[in-house]
Amino acid sequence: MADLLAADAPAATIGEPAINISIFGVFVLITLVITFRASRNNKSAADFYAAGRNISGTQNGLAIAGDYLSAASFLGIAGAIAVYGYDGFLYSIGFLVAWLVALLLVAELLRNTARFTMADVLAFRMRQGPVRTAAAISTLVVSLFYLLAQMAGAGGLVTLLLGVSGEAAQAVTVVVVGALMIFYVLVGGMRGTTYVQVIKASLLIIGALVMTVWVLAEYGFNLSSLIGGAIESGGQAVAEPGAQYGLTNVTKLDFISLGLALVLGTAGLPHVLMRFYTVPTAKDARKSVVVAIWLIGIFYIFSLVIGYGAGALVGKEEILAAPGAVNAAAPLLAFELGGTALLGIISGVAFATILAVVAGLTITASASFAHDIYASVIKRGQASPDSEVKVARVAAIVIGAVAIGLGILALQAGLNIAFLVALAFAVAASANLPTILYTLFWKDFTTQGALWSIYGGLIACVTLIIFSPVVSGAAVNPTTGKSTSLFQDVDFHWFPLNNPGLVSIPLSFFLGWLGTKLSKERPDVDKYAELEVRSLTGIGAEKAVQH
């Protein structure tokens, strides 16, 4: 996902910052009111972490779409299609097909067996302490990378849309976004966060629909002439694969690696999994994924039109020259089509997107810390539910503060935030998904297998990233004079690919198998019987809270 949302946009702006800010302000105001109303029923742990399991399947489907369609999806994919054409389209397909893994193999079984976190199901039939700790660490790592990307993205977006520039102003933006997010989570809990997601997803999809119809109308609702327009401006390559990834054999392998991480990462993202616990039954979990798949799929089809539309109507050169580069495509197209008003609406939606996604991530990370590490490992299951929720609230503040600090650092280091999102997907696919699947479907799987798979996948993934061109040694771009690596003047890379998925995902599956085969302890057959019967029949599943 190179170049999606580069955070180091130079200072310049389009449209009317005052209008952009007012529309965003209206969104914040409405969601704050809703969050306050949602806070009335926020007493128990089930309320705080899982919205009392009272969210309907359709609402949760919208909230999942809201969680998933982050700024990288909205601005990044449309921008990648505008600039790289077909290769941008490839991202969206991986992001969508990934949902079938969640639908067919994970969502319902997880809803039936776990309570609040991913660790609940991973530790179900294993030794609690070690597996829960491993799952919590992996949850925190994935969520933090994702969080960091969104926070840095907020700062980059602000430069483009609000007309503020300079390190101090960007830092202030990150602090404001972070403070709002902490507020949503503390006051609204999962219920408030869910409503914010639902509103945001609706606005985003309506906004994209308007732009899509508008663009298609310009081309007489003919896909071929739209692509023709994009070719006219960007060359024949935009309609064909390979503009971005077809350059060398290494970039080709890199694309396959990315494709694998995308398709297997989604069903291992803790903030996505946690959404399955907010509905009353497994059937509602199924319905939420079905709604989410349709919404996300339709949205990506809109992105294709918006992307090619931006390429055709705004032009590749103008997009790349604009502050925010690739990410400016959708806002520039909005300005081109509907002037200041449409730009203001799209900008407001983009901010809302970041705010909603960071709130969802914060609640996931704080729930994992409070429920898995504090209540289960430190207090050994003896913590009162009240104290657990208190710890979760404190954890949300700490995680929010850490995200603000790291977000400012990432922004000022000019860190490519898309790399952080891709890394989050790769870590989720490597550390989480193999253990989830083994736990649910392989009766011989043991504690040692789980630990080897989680830690092995996590360590392999992070190590390969550290020694990849993402961190050091990428070629210097002649136009900017800078390397795309995190560190400029050193080169300690030996792993050729930007995305480690091709190596770390199979390795994690292998380690899970090997650790199990070399294990001295026998698998817990009683707990596996309970897990299997509960996962398929729904007996003993957590019930919705009655208010």
């Binding site: 077909y86 490839l90 397909i93 097909v97 067919l104 309609a239 019987a529 309970e530 398929l536 003993g540």
Partner: protein, 124 residues
């Protein structure tokens, strides 16, 4: 993890009995007979598409009508198959696994798997 009270109601023996029952074997078979082959199929189709986009540039760039080429059509076909598999799964679950799962859940709730030698099929 501290299980709430309603979960304590079922004993490990009941879960073992339920797991060994013919109806659970059937439920598991019905679940996996859809989920496993379908997962293999959509992953293979997705990987084929990724490999074609990466290594079969000229094939993917073949124009079908106007400026629309095979690559774009196959990409849109990925959307279509994803929507299709989603709806097929919903139908399969509603017709094939949900009835057995609901039936078994009711029996578990009324502790029908509590005795080791339950007389489900009494012999004459």
């Amino acid at each position: 993890m501290t299980p709430p009270t309603d979960r304590k109601l079922l004993t490990p023996e009941e879960y073992r009995q339920a797991q060994d029952s013919p109806e659970f074997t059937e439920l598991r078979r019905r679940f996996r007979s859809f989920a496993v082959p379908m997962t293999v199929a959509f992953l293979a189709w997705y990987l084929l598409y990724v490999l074609l986009s990466t290594y079969a540039h000229d094939f993917m760039a073949t124009k079908v009508f106007g400026n629309v080429n095979i690559g774009i059509l196959l990409g849109l076909a990925q959307f279509v198959t994803t929507f299709l598999i989603t709806q097929l799964y919903v139908r399969h679950a509603g017709r094939s696994t949900d009835p057995v799962a609901d039936e078994m859940r009711n029996r578990l709730e009324s502790h029908q798997y509590a005795t080791p030698n339950r007389e489900e099929f009494p012999r004459g």
